[in-house]
Amino acid sequence: MLVKQRPDAEPAEVRTRPLADGAALGVALKLLGIGPLLILILLVVGISLATPNFLKPVNLGNILAQTAVIAIVAIGQHLVILTRGIDLSVGANLALATVIGGLVYRLADSGPLVMAAMLVAGGLVGAVNGIVYVFGRLPHPFIITLATLSIARGLALELAVGHTTMRGMPIEIAFFGGGSTLGIPNSFFVVFGVAALVLLMARAMVWGRWIYAVGGKPEAAVQMGIPVKWVLVSVYVISGLCAGVGAIVLAGRTEAASPLYGNLLELDTIAAVIIGGASFLGGRGHIGHALVGAVMIGVIRNALNLLNVDVFFQMIAIGAIIVLAVEADVLRNHLEARVRVMQSGRAS
């Protein structure tokens, strides 16, 4: 009969599974949670044993300075990935921002003005990404950010009219990108500032909760009355702004603008977020993941340099680590499903 009641199967193995199994699952999930940080610590210990130069203050300062740009842009990328998206345009966006900053610098040697120009340029590209993705009803942000990658890079080359570097930056920008305070690179403080700001917005503000809801289950977010479209636009704008901040730091460190900057930065930042432990499936992750991932990439590159391993191998190593990180994510989902089954066994 159509409406006959199904004989609901009772969970058969309620008491047969030992409690220790549940405890083990819990420990495994915890380990997966802090795994990336553990791996980073192990890496640092291992590398410092292998090469004594690694822990020297000068080298640590180098790592911080080199990691700063990846870290800042990865902070924006992690918000996008939290909403199940991806921003491929960040590297080209950063290059365009430096070039526009360089052009403004030629007109006026004003730090605030050049910085504002870079931030506006970055934010605008982000806004285009978000608005076209959402209101153009694209199925996935991959295509639009791929398009703006191409457009921004082309525009940067066009505006630089054949120059690969445009020398000169206002001293304020050089201060943020290249200066240091008490032996710590100023770019580190920029990372810290951006991280603190984004952390506050993502954790303490209603908007941040909405990001996690949209990433967790977009359809449900609509049903719960969350302004999903504007939440999506906002994360791309912030990702673009982060690329603008990255542009300030990079242009400051090199005291130059270039349409070639930020090549493959999109891959580094996506890798950082995933290696750091955020979920590619959306809704899970926090700023710590982006930062740990960025530092891990910086440390690996630096160590392989110190150990005279060639550049091609660095790419292979980072690729292999991405595979591990994604597998860890899959494993985490699998373990959570196991926990769920155990819960229904215990429910009474």
């Binding site: 159509l2 409406v3 209603v206 996690y212 609509v222 819960q343």
Partner: protein
């Protein structure tokens, strides 16, 4: 089409929710063809029908997920436009969707308040306000306690909870915020016997608190046990309305499948 005995004599009060001549099309599919129904406070109304009869579509129109192409919705006698889910919730209509609309990555308390977070200061735009986390945790915990829902942990994401626990969270969420109407789309379909029993108890509690409850289910025993009235849809039309009982269970089933003789 001969409708079965109406139950309109029982309730003197005016309906809290009335749908008049609802029409809905999806392209060539005519999903609702002039459906009308009324729901009263303190009453469970079963919405029955075979798959594709239009039950879920009707619920989604009332909850603001879809807009009606024709007809009207009255709340407490007032014609009300429900353009989106937020408007429905604002009007006091809560929905427990078939897929629960729970966020796996959020905790029970975060799920409770998702989309209507307690926050301050009120002069800022909603998204920019700061969360009142402790207040939300406290309130949600109190409700979960009052409804005697047992959860393994209150601070873990609901991804780690069983089907019954998740269903209970979704129903409890509706309990807190409902002021007029609660609609539940197949709330017991995926549950074991004991877990289903828990959810039925929660539904009875919703009714006792003075809500109009609209229940979609395929389980005739649950209908007979809980529902005061049953409305049957078939192919987008209302084909009957009666008071379910053990005696007319067969009549209900034939209305649903259209095997009426």
């Amino acid at each position: 089409m001969t409708a079965a005995a109406s139950a309109s004599t029982v309730l003197s009060a005016s309906p809290v929710l009335a749908v008049n001549n609802a029409e809905k099309r999806f392209g060539a599919v005519h999903a609702l063809k002039g459906v009308s129904l009324e729901a009263y406070r303190g009453e469970v109304l079963a919405l029955l029908g075979d798959n594709g009869a239009g039950k879920s579509t009707l619920v989604k129109c009332i909850s603001g997920v879809h807009g009606l192409d024709g007809g009207e919705i009255l709340l407490d006698g007032q014609r009300t436009a429900i353009h989106n889910p937020a408007a429905a919730r604002g009007a006091g209509i809560e929905t427990v969707y078939q897929d629960l609309a729970l966020f796996d990555n959020l905790t029970p308390a975060q799920n409770f308040y998702c989309g209507r977070e307690l926050s301050f200061p009120s002069w800022l735009p909603r998204g920019m306000r700061l969360l009142r986390r402790r207040a939300m945790d406290r309130e949600a915990a109190a409700v979960i306690d009052r409804l005697k829902v047992r959860l393994p942990r209150f601070d873990a994401p609901v991804a780690l909870m069983s089907g019954g626990q998740r269903q209970a969270i979704a129903v409890a969420r509706a309990t807190v915020f409902a002021r007029k109407v609660v609609m539940l789309d197949e709330p017991t379909a995926a549950l074991g016997l004991r877990e289903a029993r828990k959810v039925l108890d929660l539904i009875a509690q919703l009714r006792d608190e003075g809500n109009a409850v609209i229940l979609i289910t395929h389980n005739m025993e649950h209908v007979v046990e809980l529902a005061d009235r049953a409305v049957v849809l078939r192919q987008g039309r209302k084909v009957g309305e009666l008071r379910p009982s053990k005696a007319n269970q067969h009549e209900l089933v034939s209305l649903i499948v259209g095997a009426e003789t």
